[in-house]
Amino acid sequence: MISLSVSGQDCSNCSQDQNIFRPLVPQWPIEYVTIHTAQYERNPKASFCRRPTEMVDTIVIHHSETINTTTPEQINGLHLARGTPEDPWYMIAYSYAVNSPYNGGSTPKAKVTEARPMELVGAHAGSDAFVPMNEEQKKMWDDGLITCGRENQEFKINPNLIRNGKIKANVTTIGIVVIGNYAPFSKTNPNGYPLDKPRYPTKSTQDLVARLSCQLQKKYPKINNIKWHNYYHPTSCPGTIKEYINKIITLTRKYGCDFK
């Protein structure tokens, strides 16, 4: 396992291969929220895919289903552990992680952290979810710009990313995870909220996600959709946050953004 930063600033000693972790545009054109960086361990034996950031047109909102004080680095550790020797995971599945307190709480401090770099295809929407491509995305695919491989190995086109003319949703989306559990308590969700006290994202959490989404759109103008995990895949994720997606979209307009 190797530990390195996703921050371009902290990567002065990176080898050329590791330069893939440098954000292509290191500066944010507009900063609505401070985005922190973190050190993420990754598994060099795992395969992963690269893409032009122009491929991305959709943000997918998740909840982590963990307690809300879990750090992105801890989620990275859990995602590394989830792999098997035959199919190891490369690193944290999401591109951004949002820590924030629950309603009435004061911890953890609200914070946005960069996770899996935008240039790398994520692992969050569901491996069985495929979406149509627009003309521009289709050209990028046809031009062989989406390639997969392992560190220090040749990257190749992976035909498994395409099915019936559609592409894996992970290729055209990025995942934002709100750390916490926004689904009700049940036998399969023992971390969930009490049945008589539903948990919703606070106004400040909604605003944080809206500001992050808008900041991403200003930097990557092709991003124009906000969806949620169970839009693509049958799961309880992102719990009650799903009910607030329209509100988050409305909030982004306050910052001059336009999402569908």
Binding site: M1, E41, N43, H62, H63, S64, E65, T66, I67, T69, T70, I75, G77, L78, H79, L80, A81, R82, G83, T84, P85, P88, W89, A93, Y94, A123, H124, G126, S127, G175, V177, N181, F185, S186, K187, T188, N189, P190, N191, G192, P194, L195, D196, H229, H233, T235, S236, C237
Partner: protein, 130 residues
Amino acid sequence: MRFQVTFFMLFISFYALGVDDQSMNELFQKYDSIMDHKKIELIDEVFTKKFIKGSGGKKELINKIKSLPESLVQSQTTMSWKKGSKGEIYLATLKEKSINKNISISNEAEFIVVKEDGKLKIDGTISDAQ
């Protein structure tokens, strides 16, 4: 001599793996007892201190368990587990399915299991990103 070497290898393997099917099954049988039969006295044996604290404390966790309605649908749970590819973490997948073929319920969860005071305990769950 060969017997001694074999025994030694088995001993090493046991400690390298640290966990077997039986201990994991026992943990989830106790978990079933808590969730299905409200055996709240088993809470400390099943959940880590961190999990209980993260649930708002033992009292809050007990209230949540007690408020869980008796399922109107008879369900069957199956559990499978694997050692995480990193560190002393185990990941157990719990699948809940209806026994009645006419009623469709299908829930799945991934549990994080760790060792606390030498015993396997549930430390949390994690969303099914992939």
